[in-house]
């Protein structure tokens, strides 16, 4: 199995609900707490497994706002695991989930240096590294109804921009989406082989704006009159 997420950059509205749901589930989960520093102060900060950033792609007038949620990519070549001196970071052979054993971590930050995606954050309160678990304490929970055995971020997404599944299964929803929508990976040139895949914005029919008003004498006079009346 190769579990991971597909994130649709076309439908993501950048609402941060996935990050909040993640924080809510995981702060009371097996890797909690996700410590907050100065939560009611002027510069509140803290540990998050999922962060959403917002970008402008293209130049005006052909530009677009794209929201990119990012959490652990559960890379196939996870350097964060290789560089860990204590063996606290490990990648599960059965499903590819990268986890941190907090009882072994010495908080040296080296894995965070090795991660290109900024997926790992040190909890300064606990002194150990924390990261996305792909809700490992949820997706296998037999107590939950089957439809809820998904990461918290996927269940909560109101735009349905997040999908969870097995990338090794060619017929899974995530594999199908990647195939049909041309899924892309972030920074593939570094060779980490991230599992999480992003779906690019759909190419939509351009809506013409230059032919709405023909440049004729009547419209010019109308424009002039409107301007004068407004003044």
């Amino acid at each position: 199995m190769r579990l991971g997420l597909v994130i649709d950059m076309d439908t993501c509205v950048g609402c941060h609900a996935c990050a909040v749901a993640c924080k809510q589930w995981n702060t009371s989960g097996t890797t909690g707490a996700l410590t907050d520093y100065r939560p009611y102060g002027e510069d509140p900060s803290g540990v998050w497994f999922n962060r959403i950033r917002h970008y402008e792609v293209g130049d005006y007038p052909n530009n677009k706002t794209v929201n990119i949620p990012m959490s652990c990519m559960h890379c196939q070549h996870a350097d964060c695991v290789n560089v860990c001196p204590t063996g606290a970071s490990y990648k599960r052979p059965e499903d590819g989930i990268v986890l941190v054993d907090q009882d072994k971590c010495m908080g040296c930050n080296y894995c965070a240096w090795a991660c290109p995606y900024g997926a790992r954050e040190l909890d300064r309160e606990d002194g150990v590294m924390k990261k996305c678990t792909l809700c490992v304490d949820r997706i296998y929970d037999q107590q939950l109804p089957p439809e809820e055995r998904q990461p918290a971020c996927v269940i909560t997404c109101p735009a349905h921009a997040r999908f969870f599944g097995d990338f090794d299964d060619a017929n899974s929803e995530v594999s199908r989406l990647v195939r049909e929508r041309g899924g892309v990976k972030q920074m593939p040139e570094l060779g980490y082989k991230p599992v999480n895949t992003y779906l690019p914005p759909r190419i939509t029919r351009p809506i013409p704006t230059d032919d709405v008003r023909a440049n004729r004498l009547v419209t010019s006079v109308k424009d002039w009159v409107n301007k004068m009346v407004a003044r």
Binding site: H54, A88, G107, C108, W113, V128, E189
Partner: protein, 350 residues
């Protein structure tokens, strides 16, 4: 990269200690230079071991969970940090046998102590190499991901070791032109390697904001990082020293780290009292301390691309002349060290 003071002290002090030990073993066991007295051998070895130990203890200073530090020996198979820890500890028994041989047998050590001394010197070089590889193996930091990184660590350790070696020898009236000559050669070689490194990182390339965000056929600009205050990532990777600070420190590296010590040894060769070698030792240690600060401060992690840096060398904040002046609105300023959300022209602080 945020320069961690404990790591700077550790790498500089331990590096010089390993360098001093390598010089001691080379001069003593290979018979280079003048014969050393019993006392001189012990002081050289004692200072080297003391500096190495002090550095290793200081290195635990940046650990957030020190009680698990012993576990750092566990992943020798994959982690250079683990390898460094193992080699650093493996150095001690061999250095100890050599030291015991000197202590009991005097300058004319037996074959066992001599072999142990050679092996300890070899382990010292391997430890320096491992320290360099901790940084050199990271594909995420293009400035470090080069064979020059471990080469620099080895040569800078040996160069600072040679200055210390000459300085300690001067106490025993034993700092010969051989000491000065070896120091000058090592310093010039280290300066050349460091110069090549600075040249190389000034034109390094790698991932861009385009490959990071997957949009390779359009310009990409950061609108908002999604957080109002600093995060772990901004604290650790958002360090952006000013260009003139970098230039001044770099000047200090070459002046104090290499040029001044070489001039001091040149003066010894032309008849100055040998005790001035201490000036060279102190100057080179300060200079290499500045070099180590710069090594971290100039390293730019690729996660910065997600925070608005267009490529692997650019600072996060664009020069003010790039766009119209954005008036400082309440709360849109200070977003942690070196990170401003309002740095894109017209960008808002959410």
């Amino acid at each position: 990269m945020h320069p961690a003071f404990s790591v700077i002290l550790f790498t500089v002090i331990s590096g010089a200690g390993y360098g001093l030990f390598i010089l001691l073993a080379a001069f003593h066991l290979a018979g280079i230079g003048p014969a050393m007295s019993h006392g001189e051998l012990l002081v050289h070895g004692g200072v080297a071991m003391g500096m190495i130990t002090l550095g290793l203890l200081l290195s635990t200073g940046h650990l957030a969970n020190k009680k698990n530090a012993w576990r750092s020996f566990m992943r020798f198979k994959t982690s250079w940090l683990s390898r460094e820890a193992v080699f650093a500890v493996l150095f001690y028994p061999f250095a100890g046998i050599y030291a015991l041989g000197v202590l009991l047998q005097g300058p004319a050590v037996g074959p066992l102590a001599a072999v142990a001394g050679v092996l300890a010197a070899l382990l010292a070089v391997i430890t320096l190499f491992s320290t360099g590889m901790i940084y050199g193996c990271l594909k995420t930091i293009r400035q470090w991901n080069t064979a020059l990184t471990p080469a620099n660590y080895i040569m800078l350790g040996i160069a600072t070791g040679t200055t210390l070696f000459a300085a300690i020898a001067s106490v025993f009236g034993n700092a010969t032109s051989m000491h000065a000559g070896v120091a000058m050669v090592a310093l010039v070689a280290a300066a050349l390697l460091k110069g090549i490194y600075y040249f190389w990182i000034s034109r390094v390339n790698g991932p861009t904001i385009n490959t990071a965000t997957t949009f390779n056929r359009a310009t990409v600009r950061l609108l908002d990082t999604g957080h109002t205050a600093g995060t772990f990532l901004t604290d650790e990777f958002g360090y952006d020293p000013r260009k003139d600070t970098i230039d001044n420190i770099k000047m200090g590296v070459f002046l104090l780290g290499f040029i001044a010590p070489v001039l001091v040894f040149a003066s010894i060769l032309s008849g100055a009292p040998e005790a001035v070698a201490w000036l060279a030792a102190i100057s080179s240690l300060i200079g290499i301390g500045m070099e180590r600060w710069l090594f971290f401060a100039e390293a730019k992690h690729v996660v910065r691309l997600y925070h608005g840096a267009p490529n692997c060398t650019s600072p996060l904040t664009q020069p003010a002349s790039d766009g119209p002046e954005v008036p400082e609105t309440a709360g849109a300023g200070e977003k942690g060290p070196g990170w401003r959300l309002g740095d894109t022209p017209g960008g808002s602080g959410s």
